[in-house]
Each structure stands twice: as structure tokens, then as C-alpha cells.
């Protein structure tokens, strides 16, 4: 299998704080990764490095064959291939759902308005929110907003999707609709890296679960072994914490 995302020897600092320590991660095309770990462990930082929302001190990142460096050209190339979904949705509040979805395709992919709208309506249908296209984000529930955010990212037809705690800001009754959308995306073969504590989702779709602590990858395994036989003491402690509430 060809690799979609390759990270080698990544080092990242915030001032004196060593946020990522020698991260090595290869994600195959179509692979689904779930990243978990305590807060401050560097999991969000890690995926934000992939589309250059964070800059790294050293190491190498290759996404869909594009080697990431600080040049705008490389950054553009990578961002065209990778979509991202944020914890706080980050929809544009002054634009309707449809306008949110067509902005980047028109500006970046240079699609005409009608082409962009056709694509947008297709993906809005796909996240089952096609009937809300003319509304503003504030008129939608949190779960609906996050599904719009997923559709907005899909409108750029990315080869991989990054999810940064997509359900953490949602009311409990809305978590499922977002996870269902992500599961169906996974079923369609999308390459995905998800930072999440939804262990049910991890069991259902992940090919690999990765546990991070203190800026390092501590343990990784297929979900079955990861949950039933965690090897590392920190992993056991973490799983104990989060599973105690489920």
C-alpha cells in the first residue's frame, strides 16, 4: 500500500516546551488512525503539523507525495490534499451553509459558482443536511454545524481528512450523528486521522489506535489488542480513566 502521510523524526517546540518528540508516523492510503491521549500530550499539535497550521523545528512530512516545507507552494499543495475538521467547527458565521461550502472551491480550485454549488449540494446531501443549505451556521445545532464543517472540507475533494476532537464540543445527544457521518466516510475509503476519545468509534473504524503522552507516541496497536491488552502502564491508566465513565 502506498503511504498517504509520512512523518519522520518530527520535533516541535513552543518556546522551551518540547511539544513533539521524535514523532514517526506513516499512514497508508485508506487507513484510519485514531489518536488518543491525555490533554497536552501533543495529539492535536501532531495533526496540525500535517497541514502546516503549526510549524515544526525539524523532521520531514510528506503528504500525498508533496514534501512539506515553509514555501507557500508546498503548503498550498498539501492543503489541497488534506481536509480538516475542528473541535469548535469554525464555520464562517457571516456566510450561509452553502456559501461556507463553495468559498474555497471557487477561490482555490477556481470552480465556477454553479460547479461549486453542485459539488456543495452533493456533499451536503451526503452528510444529510442538504435541506439546510440556505441557513446560517448559528441557526443550526452543534451536530449539524459539525456535519456542515465536514461537508465543507469534503468539497475540496481531499485525499485525507484530519479530525481534531470533532465531538468534544458537542452536547451528548449530538455526538452520534457526527460519528455516524465519520463512520460512513471511513467506509468509503477515506484516509483519516482522528484525534478523539470516542473509543466506540475507534473500535468500529480504526485500523490502528495510537496513544500519545508527553509529546511522544507511547503505544500503537490494532483496536482489539489496544483495548484488551494495553502494553504500557500509562496506556492502562488512561484507558482506565476514560472507560470508567462509559
Amino acid at each position: 500500500m502506498a503511504s498517504m502521510i509520512e512523518m519522520q523524526h518530527i520535533e516541535k517546540y513552543y518556546g522551551a516546551f518540547h511539544a513533539l518528540k521524535n514523532i514517526n508516523l506513516t499512514v497508508a492510503k485508506g487507513e484510519k488512525i485514531v489518536l488518543c491521549g491525555p490533554s497536552g500530550s501533543g495529539k492535536s499539535t501532531l495533526i496540525r503539523c500535517i497541514n502546516h497550521l503549526e510549524t515544526i523545528k525539524s523532521g520531514e512530512i510528506v503528504v500525498a507525495g508533496h514534501r512539506l516545507n515553509d514555501s507557500q507552494k508546498a503548503v498550498d499543495a498539501v492543503r489541497r490534499e488534506v481536509g480538516m475538521v475542528f473541535q469548535q467547527f469554525n464555520l464562517f458565521p457571516h456566510k450561509t451553509v452553502l456559501e461556507n461550502c463553495i468559498l474555497a472551491p471557487m477561490r482555490v480550485r477556481k470552480l465556477s459558482r454553479s460547479e461549486a454549488e453542485a459539488t456543495a449540494r452533493k456533499y451536503l446531501e451526503r452528510v444529510r443536511i442538504g435541506d439546510q443549505a440556505e441557513k446560517y451556521p448559528a441557526q443550526l445545532s452543534g451536530g449539524q454545524q459539525q456535519r456542515v464543517a465536514i461537508a465543507r472540507a469534503l468539497c475540496m475533494e481531499p485525499k485525507a481528512m484530519l479530525f481534531d476532537e470533532p465531538t468534544s464540543a458537542l452536547d451528548p445527544e449530538m455526538v452520534k450523528e457526527v460519528l455516524d457521518t465519520m463512520v460512513s466516510l471511513a467506509r468509503d475509503g477515506m484516509t483519516m486521522i482522528c484525534v478523539t476519545h470516542e473509543m466506540g468509534f475507534a473500535r468500529q473504524v480504526a485500523d490502528r489506535v495510537i496513544f500519545m503522552a508527553d509529546g511522544q507516541i507511547v503505544e500503537e496497536n490494532d483496536p482489539e489488542s489496544f483495548f484488551s491488552a494495553p502494553k504500557h502502564e500509562r496506556t492502562r491508566a488512561f484507558l482506565g480513566e476514560i472507560l470508567a465513565h462509559h
Binding site: 475542528f86 457571516h94 477561490r107 475540496m156
Partner: protein
Amino acid sequence: MGIQEFTYLLQGLAWTLFLTAIGFAGGIFFGLVVALMRVSPSAWLRVPAICWIGLFQGTPLLMQLFVAYFGLPLIGFDLPAWGAVSVALTAHASAFLGEIWRGAIQAVPKGQSEAAQALGLHGVSRMFDVVLPQAFKLSLPATVGFLVQLLKGTSLAAIVGFIELARAGTIVSNQIYRPLLVFGVVGAMYFAMCWPLSLWGRTLERRMAAGQAK
């Protein structure tokens, strides 16, 4: 006060509105330039904007009017009085509006420009499609507040001999020896312009505080 005097005051009023409009229109354009320079990552753009804002916020409008009126001809710009006053008001407004909008741009949540970046949008589109429309909305109450300040500030143009509303009032008052009546009318005219603007600004602020989207 006869119809003739009243008409004279109305002419002054027209000039006051004209000066305000020029100062505000120029201030919007150059203020946007100042605001964008002020938030630029490049120090070559940012530092001049900081100096510009500091200069005009740190000196009285009256002095700025003097400099424009007496100073510009010295360096070869021979402008009519209204031209010099317009230049001064525009520069003044650009500094204040630039600073108001700088604050508004920085008040737009960081997640907005991150989402735009993640979608591959470039700096110009990120600013004009995503950040500025939201910043503009945030800044509306303060912007309207400044418009009121500017309108009243135009009365200082009287000092360089410009006959706007306040100056027209002085002249009429000297002619008919009824200062209380004349300045009462002049004051009422300012009030009639400024009060609705202030009310509008307050409505905008309340609506925003209520968190109304759209």
C-alpha cells in the same frame, strides 16, 4: 433671527456635513489600509502604521488642522481651505478608524483564519472573505461612535477660517447680538445630527451583545 440668518446657518450645516462625509469616506479607505498594515506580519508595514496611529491619536485635531492648513502650502501643496481641512480630517480619521479596525480584526476568533488556511485560502481571500466581514460587524458600534466624534470635530475647522456650522453661528451671533438664541439653534442642529447616530450605535451594540447572528 430672520430667514436670511437661518439660511446662512444651513449653509454652514451643509459644509459641516460635507467635511464629515469627506473625512469619513477618506478615513474608511485609508483607515482600512492602516488597519491592514497594522496587523501585517511584516515589520516594514506594521511599524509605519503604529507611528501613524500614535501621531494622530497623540496630538490634538486642532493642531493637525493647523499643520495641514499652514504647513501643506509650505511644502508646495497649495490647497483651498476645504482641501486642507479635508486632508487633515482624512488623516485623523484614518488613524482612529485604523486602530478601531485593528482591534476588531484581532477580535475575530483565531479558529476562523485557521479554518480558512486549512481550506487552502490565501492571505487576501482569508482577510476579505473571512476575517474583515466579521471584523466590520464587530467594529460597527465603535465606528459609528467615531463618526459622531468626527462630525463634532469638524467645528474645529472654524479656527482656520472655514465657515462651517460653528463658525456660521459665531458670525450670525455677532451680527444680531443674540448669542444665546443663535448658539441654541446651532447646538440643536448638531444634536439633531449626532443623537440619532449615537442611538443607532447603541442599538447596534445591544443587538451584538444579544449575540444575534446574521
